[in-house]
């Protein structure tokens, strides 16, 4: 049997009578760039919240690095080496950019100086070094997304969950972020990434799972997914030309 880094096993998530995620299973291999796509309300972010420990699952198991993690708190999941970003960015607004990233770095060190060192390194990687002393709240959306990325990278994760990291960005900014993601993978991390932007997804992902109304609609390599009639219908609506 192949070792999967992350294994989602028949996961369901209900909110009262509302089924947000229904019996989803898939596996993510090490060093993969894995895309999770689907129209609005498909359950992508809900699934992310379950994986990262923010929501308890209704049933099913989430196995990360051979451990069942669906009963763990978000901070415990982070310490196992899984870090997430947020679709609606959550900068720690009154702290500086550097301090934001240091807080990520503190998950692997107790020393302030060491945290600062790691933080500078990550800021360099995402190209935010010039903004180190600016308050995080004052950045533009594109820079805030980069900050999110730098902050989770500072926790030295084995796996990154990126929730619409390119959402709201222009083409140049998207390209920069995709380059950073490739670089991060080259260094050995696995990436699961929710995205609306089909172009970004097909450009970068090795494997894609498509969700629709909380169910798994399809999975496969990018070129298969883009030709899958079910996916085209879910995305564009039957017969319409978008």
């Amino acid at each position: 049997m192949i070792e999967h880094l992350l294994h989602i096993n028949h996961v369901c998530k209900h909110f009262g009578g509302n089924v947000a995620v229904s019996d989803i299973s898939f596996s993510v291999d090490e060093k993969q760039i894995f895309g999770l796509i689907g129209p609005n309300g498909a359950g992508k972010t809900t699934l992310f919240n379950c994986i990262s420990g923010f929501f308890p699952v209704t049933s099913g198991d989430i196995i990360f690095d051979n451990k069942i993690i669906n009963k763990l708190r978000p901070d415990e999941v982070c310490h196992l080496g899984m870090a997430r970003t947020w679709q609606r960015v959550k900068p720690l607004g009154s702290l500086t950019v550097l301090e934001n990233v240091m807080i990520g770095a503190f998950s692997i060190t107790n020393a302030t100086r060491k945290a600062e060192e790691i933080a500078f390194e990550q800021l360099g990687l995402v190209g935010l070094s010039d903004y180190a002393t600016k308050p995080a709240g004052s950045l533009s959306i594109g820079l805030k997304k980069k900050l999110e990325l730098a902050r989770v990278l500072a926790t030295r994760p084995k796996m990154l969950l990126l929730d619409e990291i390119c959402g709201g960005l222009n083409l140049t900014e998207t390209d920069t972020i995709l380059d950073i993601i490739r670089e991060v993978r080259r260094k050995g991390a696995t990436i699961v990434f929710i995205e609306h932007d089909m172009k970004a997804v097909t450009a970068i992902c090795d494997w894609i799972v498509v969700l629709n109304s909380g169910e798994k609609l399809a999975e496969g390599r990018p070129e298969e997914i883009t030709r899958n009639p079910d996916v085209i219908e879910a995305y564009l609506g039957g017969g319409q030309n978008a």
Partner: protein, 331 residues
Amino acid sequence: MKQVTIIAIIAGIAAVLPLVTGESPYFIGVMISVLMMAALSSAWNILGGYAGQYSFGHAAYFGAGAYTTLIMISTFNFNPLGGMVAGIIVACIIALVTGSIVFRLRGHYFGLASIAVAEIVRLSALNFEFTGGAQGILLSDVSLWGVDLNSKLPFYYGMLLVLVVSLGITLYMRSSKTGFYLQAIREDQDAAASLGINLSFYKNKALLISAALTSVLGSLYAVYIRFIDTSAVLDLRLSIEIILTAIIGGVGTLWGPAVGAVLLVPLAEVLRSNVIGEALVKHGIVSEKSGLGIFFKDNLAHAHVLVYGIITVLCILYLPKGILGLFRRTK
């Protein structure tokens, strides 16, 4: 200049102040109030200012220190220091129970729950027999290692010491992992959790430090005044005064709470004793018989809470980041 140096210089000045001014009991009395409020507010600031958890129930920890100390001294013949240690233990137990319940709540709900817990403590003290109920506890003469505790000076230095310790802890924390984590919790709890911060552990840590310091101040106060009842040490008013001092000085800053206390406590004193109103009449600026004179001489003294309230509202309206917020450089 380094903040440590500034703390040392100010503490040094405060330490020699009584020698310079002579032992005027009134002056020392007001200074003790200033130092106590500065220390209380600084202790609150660790939890409220840095971790962003606005506790409206800090009187509970102050009262726990005060009551435990006096009960230990009068019933079990502890010396005051032993009573103080017992007070810290009781305050920490209350803090842990409180923390485990109210830290599940966020934002305003946390504030409301903290009031509820403090009210439970107050009503318990009011109705139990060992706390003296509504009569409170009166302490006769007390001494420690032959030092006469009827004098005010030991308490002046005691309060000063706790203030310096509070400022020192705040200063150390600001540059340490705990301080960064508390600020992350203040800014965004979900983001903090996703970055590996155990929310309840760090909130409880801040609460314990804050509660322990607050209870020490309660112990000092109780032995200093030698009479306590629930309205003196467990009242919601005290909790609110602590918060106001921090807000007006500058929440989440090292010096804000101390600055707030230095301004507000003497202000309240001046208004209460109606020094200004009486001086106006005495120097003939306003005639004693005129309506204005009667207002200044009699009514204003009763209205000191009103004036204090108006000043507070103006501060909040025009200095939302506190007095220190004015001087903080925009980054």
